[in-house]
């Protein structure tokens, strides 16, 4: 097994055992549960607004694990040990990105099933929501990792992370929620473009940030 596969396997095990993977999931379901209380039980109104609310919940759920993606490894000297072995920061960021998406994206897509029932979404909307989440969550995971790297070592990293990350997530939110409407065809493609850009950019941006954090 090469070092990257080992880093990936380690991070996945940590996410599922350390509880890092369940927290965003519970948050997502909690929002879906609370939303009808705020809007009221009107099924048509819920169905019309629920999809957008779930995208909002997914975005905020992506923000939750930001302070745990890299900071514990930085504090424990794990990142320094990787660098000492000549494993590039970009490679570490790539492995961490894949591991983070696996512990975040698919569980969120599963949680979207009960959540859509709570919000009275019809079948066709649910299919478009799931498609959108499948395409959009890699972008959200990439954004979370990039933010985590950029705020590494700062004192109020958690608060700053929200300010850095949420504006950058605007394209994902617009195209993801836009793709929910029945007559929309281009939304998913634009969502895929935004997501792809973030995924492609993150290893390099996060890698550079990790190097800078070491100085």
């Amino acid at each position: 097994m090469n070092p990257l596969a080992r880093i990936l396997a380690r991070d996945l095990a940590r996410a599922f055992r350390g509880g890092g993977a369940t927290l965003p999931l519970l948050f997502f379901l909690l929002v879906a549960t609370l939303f009808p209380f705020a809007i009221g039980p009107d099924a048509t109104l819920l169905a019309a607004t629920g999809g957008g609310a779930l995208w909002m919940a997914a975005l905020l759920a992506a923000l939750l694990p930001v302070d745990r993606l890299l900071a514990p490894d930085q504090d424990a000297g794990v990142l320094d040990q990787f660098a000492t072995r000549g494993i590039s920061e970009e490679a570490v960021a790539t492995a961490k990105l894949i591991a983070h998406w696996l512990s975040f994206g698919p569980p969120l897509m599963i949680a979207a099933l009960p959540a859509s029932a709570l919000l009275k979404l019809d079948g066709a909307t649910l299919v478009r929501l799931e498609l959108g989440l499948a395409i959009g969550t890699p972008g959200l995971a990439a954004l979370a990792l990039m933010t985590s790297a950029l705020t590494l070592g700062l004192r109020s990293a958690g608060a700053l992370a929200g300010l850095v990350m949420l504006p950058l997530a605007v394209p994902i939110l617009i195209f993801g929620a836009g793709a929910l409407s029945a007559e929309d065809n281009g939304g998913l493609k634009l969502l895929a473009a935004a997501s792809l850009l973030l995924v492609a950019l993150t290893p390099f941006a996060a890698g550079a940030a990790l190097r800078a954090a070491r100085e």
Binding site: R14, D80, T84, R85
Partner: protein, 197 residues
């Protein structure tokens, strides 16, 4: 125990260290070949750890060049082991990254006298045991060049003796040791690198 360390080399050539607009040292040159050791001494904040981080490739020198041949392992105050995992498993991760097997982990644990507590989670270790766990990680990696930052901190007399024996064995096999320490490590014949305040 170790891959042939016959060609290992670590050399600093006129290296300067700049930290936060402050020049810690400059014009530092030394060369270490197979079986050589160097001991860095000096007051706090004079650049001992920075020198080790430069040797590990974690910091870029402000001037000069650093030549390395052979694999490098760094042991500082952070053991880099997963706190929730049993000690043996946590060491196994790094041994895997270093291309070593379970026998290397067992050898590392034995060398620091922690063989009996391989099943104990890392977070339960005492300060001294955690330091020794970090050294076990370094030993299990079977790298050619060992960089040790205060390896004697928190170790009892028996552990210090074991460390001295392990370092002697590493050098006998052609390994290189660069250590920073405030206390004697049994590296009496090591090349001295002294920093002044």
């Amino acid at each position: 125990m170790m891959a042939a360390g016959g060609d290992a080399r670590l050399a600093f050539d006129g290296v300067a260290c700049l930290r936060g607009h402050r020049l810690l040292f400059e014009g530092l040159s030394f060369a270490l070949g197979p079986g050589d050791a160097a001991l860095i001494t000096g007051p706090n904040g004079t650049g001992k750890s920075s020198l080790l981080r430069m040797a590990a490739g974690l910091l870029a020198p402000a001037a000069g060049a650093i030549h390395r041949e052979g694999t490098i392992a760094l042991a500082d105050e952070r053991h880099a082991l997963d706190p929730l995992k049993p000690l043996g498993e946590a060491l196994g991760f790094w041994a895997g990254v270093d291309g070593q097997g379970r026998d290397a982990v067992a050898a590392g644990l034995d060398a620091v006298g922690l063989g009996a507590i391989a099943e104990v989670p890392v977070r339960m270790l005492s300060t001294g045991q955690a330091r020794r766990a970090g050294l076990a990680r370094l030993i299990a990696g079977r790298a050619h060049i060992w960089l040790l930052d205060e390896p004697g901190n928190g170790l009892d007399a028996a552990s210090l003796d074991r460390l001295a024996a392990t370092m002697a064995a590493h050098r006998a096999q052609g390994g290189i040791i660069l250590a920073a320490s405030h206390q004697p490590l049994g590296l009496d014949d090591a090349q001295p690198i002294r920093f002044r305040a």
